[in-house]
């Protein structure tokens, strides 16, 4: 197995997507996925990542989600709602506390039933170290980072979703749109991913290097 993963990206902001596509370059495994809201963007990106896997792995692949930003945002959003004197708390406010609402329907729509772990307090480098070890036990793996663009917007934060895909799928032809205002890529995972094939990862340990 090639240990350098492919990359699937999606998000709510065209400029961020274009910048991420440029950074991902020939590692892109699917065209960037644009959606108007965070939940749809994450779901669409995850569906594209599953579709990029070999068919036998699409229903069983493990998924790691780096959930720091979204889980914190969801808790802050709930706190705002509970203290909002202008509206009553609703059941949907309670449901939206859960990070898994980002991905729950993907399994229903695609048949994916792999193990899922929504993690936080884990740097992108360490997440890659964990992923590298786990792929010694699994034929495929997805590592998803949900980076929020406006975390203080407690209505719709916007996002850039970056998913590393093992095994690396074939690349796609993709022309990066020209943007008049270059933007930085708000993804620690994309920055931490290797840009060229590396040797077999250490099967043991918890390191800061992928």
């Amino acid at each position: 197995m090639a240990h350098t993963p492919g990359i699937v990206i999606g998000g709510t902001d065209q400029s961020s997507l274009a910048a991420a596509a440029t950074a991902a370059a020939d590692r892109l495994a699917a065209p960037p996925h644009h959606s108007p809201d965070t939940t749809a963007a994450v779901r669409g990106t995850l569906e594209a990542a599953l579709a990029a896997l070999p068919p036998p792995h699409r229903t069983t692949t493990p998924l790691l989600v780096l959930a720091d930003a979204y889980s914190t945002w969801a808790a802050r959003r709930f706190a705002q709602r509970i203290d909002d004197p202008t509206r009553r708390l609703r059941p949907s406010d309670s449901i939206r506390l859960e990070t898994s609402e980002l991905i729950r329907t993907v399994a229903v729509d695609t048949g994916w039933r792999g193990p899922c772990y929504q993690l936080a307090a884990l740097t992108a480098e360490r997440a890659l170290s964990v992923a590298s070890a786990l792929i010694s036990q699994h034929p495929s793996l997805l590592l998803c980072e949900v980076a929020l663009l406006n975390p203080d917007d407690l209505t719709e934060p916007g996002c850039l979703a970056v998913i590393a895909v093992w095994p690396r799928p074939s690349g796609v032809a993709w022309t990066t749109p020209v943007t008049s205002h270059p933007v930085s890529v708000p993804s620690q995972l994309l920055a931490a991913l290797p840009t060229r094939p590396s040797g077999a990862p250490s099967s043991r340990g918890w390191t800061d290097a992928a």
């Binding site: 493990p62 959930a67 720091d68 889980s71 914190t72 969801a74 808790a75 802050r76 709930f78 706190a79 509970i82 708390l89 609703r90 059941p91 406010d93 309670s94 449901i95 506390l97 859960e98 990070t99 898994s100 609402e101 991905i103 729950r104 399994a107 229903v108 994916w112 039933r113 792999g114 193990p115 899922c116 772990y117 929504q118 993690l119 936080a120 307090a121 884990l122 170290s129 964990v130 070890a133 786990l134 010694s136 036990q137 099967s203 043991r204 340990g205 918890w206």
Partner: protein, 369 residues
């Protein structure tokens, strides 16, 4: 596959400090649910911890640390090994959120200081009320993948206005103490508590002389449901079957059910367990729950469930389900107290579910020495 074992556990529950206190309360059929004395946002019965805690830290953090300390002692360790993976479970990692002056906020997110609990090898994991079970599955995967030899899975739940409101608004809270599997059940009672497990590679435990009789044989942790609520019979059945397949077992001697006491949730879980019992051609399969005794510990709720299951496997005694007076009719399940048939190997399942489609089943096995 039985290469990952549980070598220690610790609990803080509304019965008091420690695993022994919890187990004796379960065996006696006691209930620690009653009117709130400290927590001022509950009109319904709750399971409060009356044990004093240090005033300089949030109770959630103090309880987590106490549970870990007991688990470490139980595992025969002097402290958490420096190279251990520590998996903390909860709603979200600590952030001030502009709420630092609100003490309830520190019981909602966090714990505040991971550094007080673990070295830098700590991760946080969030899967609603199934978080601790997902945490055990993740720890098992990390050990099997060779990332670590030892993992700690820990979490706590403390009554706070945020989580209480989140349960109240979905009309989950019962005006009476929870009665899992009872025909007259009317919802959940929230409780406080903490738990911790020490999980190790079997060879590692054996080499240092620790108990290695209790294995994590299998796990299934899935995020799938047609609706956000935690009651999808098809998803639960699929999760149960996946865990049994992962464990490569064809028997079950006990199930410690999620069983919160909601009318719909318990009915769906019983239906799924009936299907599984039929799959395995079992009759009289003992099924229990602790939530009528200490309440629902939300993200940490699987920790007392796993400890109870470990003690059922080690003693052969299935405690009564507290609050259960008028059991739902069952075809292949047994909802009362029981004794496990004597066998060289006994196998049990622990189920844990949560909003957002979070479903986890763990399969534990014990080989009698």
């Amino acid at each position: 596959m039985n290469d990952v074992v549980i070598t220690g556990y610790g609990l803080v529950t509304p019965f008091g400090m420690g695993v022994d206190t919890f187990w004796h309360g379960l065996l006696a059929g006691d209930r620690a649910l009653g009117p709130a004395q400290r927590f001022r946002h509950a009109e319904e019965p709750v399971g409060e911890i009356r044990t004093p805690t240090p005033s300089d830290k949030p109770r959630k953090q103090a309880f987590t640390e106490a549970a870990i300390a007991e688990a470490v002692r139980d595992a025969g360790l002097a402290r958490i090994p420096d190279d251990a993976l520590v998996v903390l479970v909860g709603q979200a990692p600590w952030c001030d959120g502009g709420k630092e002056s609100d003490p309830d906020w520190s019981e909602f997110v966090g714990p505040v200081s991971v550094a007080d609990i673990a070295s830098s090898r700590a991760v946080y994991l969030t899967h609603a009320c199934a978080s601790a079970a997902f945490g055990v599955a993740f720890a098992r995967s990390a050990i099997q993948a060779g990332i670590v030899d030892t993992a700690v899975v820990a979490g706590a739940s403390v009554l706070n206005r945020y989580e209480y409101a989140s349960m109240r608004v979905v009309k989950a809270i019962s005006p009476h103490p929870a009665r899992p599997f009872d025909r007259d059940r009317s919802g959940i009672s929230l409780g406080e508590g903490a738990g911790a497990l020490i999980i190790e590679r079997r060879e590692h435990a054996h080499a240092r002389g620790a108990r290695d009789d209790l294995a994590v044989l299998g796990a299934a942790c899935q995020v799938v449901a047609a609706s956000s609520a935690a009651s999808d019979e098809a998803a639960i059945t699929e999760c149960l079957r996946a865990a049994i397949a992962d464990a490569r077992v064809d028997r079950l001697d006990y199930v410690h059910a999620h069983a919160t006491g909601t009318p719909q949730g318990d009915a769906v879980e019983l239906a799924a367990l009936e299907t599984l019992a039929a799959d395995l051609d079992l009759t009289g399969l003992p099924v229990g729950s602790h939530k009528g005794a200490i309440g629902h510990l939300l993200h940490a709720s699987a920790l007392p469930a796993i400890v109870a299951t470990a003690l059922v496997l080690r003693t052969g005694v299935v405690p009564p389900t507290a609050g259960l007076a008028n059991p739902e009719p069952c075809r292949r399940l047994h909802l009362g107290p029981a004794r496990l048939a004597s066998a060289a190997t006994t196998v049990a399942a622990v189920t844990s579910f949560g909003f957002g489609g979070n479903s986890c089943t763990l399969v534990l096995g014990r080989v009698a020495s």
